[in-house]
Symmetry: C2
Subunit: 172 residues, 2 copies
Amino acid sequence: MIELEVKVPCRDLAGLERRLLSLGARHLEDLEQVDMYLSHPVRDFGATDEALRLRRENQRSRITYKGPKLDQDTKMREEIELEVEDLERMSMLLERVGFRPFMKVVKRRRVLELEGVHFCLDRVEGLGDFVEMEYQGQDLGEGKRRINELRTRLELKGNERRSYLELLLEKG
Amino acid sequence: MIELEVKVPCRDLAGLERRLLSLGARHLEDLEQVDMYLSHPVRDFGATDEALRLRRENQRSRITYKGPKLDQDTKMREEIELEVEDLERMSMLLERVGFRPFMKVVKRRRVLELEGVHFCLDRVEGLGDFVEMEYQGQDLGEGKRRINELRTRLELKGNERRSYLELLLEKG
């Protein structure tokens, strides 16, 4: 399963939401996401463009590995994700084998769906507002077509390839 | 929570089970455990006396970290354990960050309880039969007393400090 993701800064999330709804988008969910990114015992995840993340999302706990970006335009990358019983214990276990918590990203995310594309309207603590368009599927070409068509229709300009983590790190 | 564990080889598991039941032991459960031990990307878990294990036990999936043994007589060590949603995905995620599956341990375990001590009657594929006496609690002295009293009463001789993993590795 490939996840295709395009992110752009957005100055007016409320306006975008109204426009999406008027085009027939469905509201899927509201999430509060608290992410803890971990550093590897010897590998520099910044240099290898990987990430290991522990996420608390509403009441769920998950661990996610993100591989390097595979594509210049989008943020396509391998993702391996699963639920875990307890985030504190998972974190403690990983610390014992040399991983270290090094950056926290907190955001509120409202998710809408239009024509098979998920729109994540994100308010990121310390960074501002963004919209992420996500297409999940096997057909990369089809995903790119749909996302580009919707971006044009919604006049969403820009392409922020950096993750919230990278943006926060650069902000210092 | 400290786990105190003493293991001895046992030539007659069926006889030991009868004897335990005649002393009033309760049968708790029967388990089929398939353990995959992982090697660390740079640390030699053999040298540091640690272990990282993925276990499928009947229908449950868990990950466990075991710290170095803290005691000469028993096998007392820190354990951090939690359930995970999917063992294959957990394994794949760990492989992406440099861990490698390196040894599988398969056993059938019958668990009985007597006077707060768990008796695990183990048939280990490729190794033979053992009994593990386990005490979980805060009071190390009390645990040692109970286990030693029961060992004497049941005439369980020997003290195998090596793990099944170590025994299988030494067997080659």
